[in-house]
Symmetry: D2
Subunit: 264 residues, 4 copies
């Protein structure tokens, strides 16, 4: 900041008399390039949308919005299990706030191998990291949207041949207790789906996934139940929600199911 | 249903052994024409997106998705303060479920008069009605997004002339205790904004709203504080959240603030 | 407009010296309730997004934006084969413009009957009416997005059982020469798809559409070719484009095909 | 591909009897990480959505979709003025097609310096590269969306103080004849806007851009005219369209203008 700015009134810092604490104030929908650490130890470049908030005590008029952006532009941002907490700390320190809140949404890529031909291709998953930090505690939530194939058991059972199937979005929103990777949540979902999705499928692969889906029909209810069982057993995960939205191939609406569990 | 269907296996009704209750299961993103009652006693036609869910006990395999759609197609749907609870009841009865959950999102129109010329035009607001009903109690939440003008007090104060202003989205999410109308929430927000928006503004109106906004600068924090004061005092409203997102005219990101309060 | 406004400068009407005609200028993304005439002679209420433009001669500085909105608010708007041209005329007259351009996008609902149970339900289609009018001629384009089921012939052929299928969006963009209804385009697409979509399907219906899709596999290329044949033969239709986007159930991307033909 | 696949029928390669050439067929909405070359000679990582199409002769039944994905996964993809044509060539060769069509959309980042404090921050722009190649010729179109501030001359003129302003999206769609950079189009727009946008603005910067916008009011018509003048004069640019959408701060709809010019 230049000397000029010292002479300019700082009305954000004025006092406020409405006796109303603001729970969250900050910047939203800021797009910024980052690196995200994956399970293989690489820092993968991606593009994120940032929501960055702090709380504001009842007696202060406004927050200093430009400081959020300064944090992001001070150096390349790499996010991983460890430095996400550090970023929360930096926000609360720089904004002199009791509570800091971060929500960072980005596409994440995994190289997958087609089931028969082993042809390699990357696939994209939508990920959201949500963190809250205050004096007492911090809380980190990992949200991953995993697109899969679902094949309807009812349709298979009642039809002489065929069965309707479709793309489904399975979303896990999980409190992280320790060392959990995005890839771990993807794995839980892909092994429980009727079939996983791939970028490249050659003809022998297409035969494989078609038959695999037909052999593993799942209602939307089955999908969330079978994924929930893994999440309940995994001690790295605290409270969680698992949702599935099936973009029904026979309707113009979705089927949806959700299981939510608290862990103490 | 025809006789034929009686011979077709109903595998949704089969028993399940995973011991996992599903919190919500049903249909999502179904678009359907409805009528919505407004404060003037009219039933206004609109187009809604419906999410309709029930819970599913741990011992049952699946729900009967077509029944949700049958409810919507059994007669014209009119939503208002009274029949929204009735619709929740109908869902839980028809699906034989303990808990029913409805989320209905639609545009709502209000005829407004320009401040000087009094030229009439309709303006659209995005509304969401969210209801939960179980054996013990029902809960209705009204969510309204009200677009307004916000003008920055800091920009006005430090600049010799002008002040940056922009469109803002103020969203109230309020538990309804009794007789609250969509129009009531719109009024709380529009009178606290730097200026309200209008469909038609003739030149004398444009002069009026430009000067009005300049005379009523508001930080994003001011907006949520000033609206929250009305919501705290209104006994028809229970717990609430008020948010403001300002699509900053000087940045490519938004400023955001939120106040959330529990009422007992 | 009040007398006051007469004293206010009208800088839009000032002259411009940049020698650049503006092809289109007006209002965009205005949401407004309308009625749309369907083939059964009913005026169906819906909610539309309006883009309304005129051209601006090189020597005029600006257009009068509020006049577009005045047209929409002057009376209830009903759109049908005849009054769409009248609305174009009204825009060019009221704005004193040589060319008027309208683009009106809205959901359109059709009551459909399930194939076996005959259960009735409405289904939604996204429609866009695009009109251009100038001194010489007017041109009306109807664009309809029809969601259907597609089932992959390759997957069926190479797999011992099952076949991947998914929801597809087939979009027709057709110049209207005379008396063409939205329902006519929907019919062309639904009869060529692997199967049509429905709001309500009871179990016998689900068996029917599952087997129907398996018996009518279609590549994305087949879909556009089979629909194009109808459009080529229909004299009410001039130049056209037909597209299909299949939201592949085995991939996280779409398959796409397009045929475009000029008719003289 | 494994030996197994040799025994699997290739029904895409079968002959077709409908006598209908398919203009475009391929994959759509595939998300893939890429590098984009900028004017400073860096290869900037970003995330792109790819549409990749070829034409299909009337006598062939289908295309081989997996080959598009193989191209993207064969090595890291870097896009710049030279290798975009090479990528088009690769698509038409690998798919044995006469015409290849690519549409690649991605966010592009530029480091900007605040006007007074010189604080550095990156800003994001939405970019689309569109290429067509056939035996005779290739055609490259660059489309860039540049968000800016617009301030209304009418509001300024008629009001005693203040003027409504807002974020606007200015989009240039330009045929590239030679060596044109994304940054060149951004510069044309930002210097003609009422003010440019920035990530970080300290208070002296906010004063500067507020006053700058007030001193440079522009109608939506002015914006497209003033940008069009640069595009007409720049010999690196062929035919072009320039659009501006102003998200009016006093309305819930946009103002829009467009100029389109052919260059021979």
């Amino acid at each position: 900041m230049t000397l000029d700015s010292l002479a300019i009134a700082d009305i954000q810092s004025a006092s406020d008399h409405r006796k109303l604490r603001v729970n969250q104030v900050g910047i939203r929908a800021l797009r910024h390039p980052i690196y995200i650490e994956n399970k293989r130890g690489e820092a993968q470049p991606t593009i994120a949308f940032f929501n960055m908030y702090v709380d504001l005590p009842h007696h202060v008029k406004g927050t200093h919005m430009s400081r959020f952006i300064e944090i992001l532009n001070s150096r390349p941002i790499t996010l991983g299990p460890e430095n996400f907490i550090a970023l929360l700390d930096e926000v609360s320190n720089k904004l002199a706030a009791e509570t800091a809140f971060l929500e960072i949404r980005f596409p994440f890529f995994v190289t997958k191998f087609a089931p028969v031909s082993k042809a390699a291709s990357v696939m994209d998953y939508e990920v959201c990291l949500i963190g809250t930090r205050n004096a007492d505690k911090s809380n980190i939530i990992l949200k991953v949207l995993i697109p899969v194939t679902s094949l309807c058991p009812c349709s298979k059972d009642i039809s002489e041949y065929g069965a309707h199937n479709q793309r489904s979005h399975v979303t896990i929103t999980a409190e992280i207790r320790s060392g959990l990777w995005i890839e771990d949540l993807i794995e839980y979902v892909e092994k429980e789906a009727s079939a996983a999705l791939y970028g490249i499928l050659k003809r022998p692969d297409e035969k494989y996934v078609t038959e695999q889906a037909y052999n593993h029909p799942k209602f939307v209810e089955d999908m969330v139940r079978d994924v929930a069982r893994h999440l309940l057993e995994d001690d790295r995960i605290g409270s969680f929600t698992v949702e599935s939205e099936n973009f029904e191939s026979i309707h113009n609406h979705s089927a949806y199911a959700m299981i939510s569990r608290e862990k103490n």
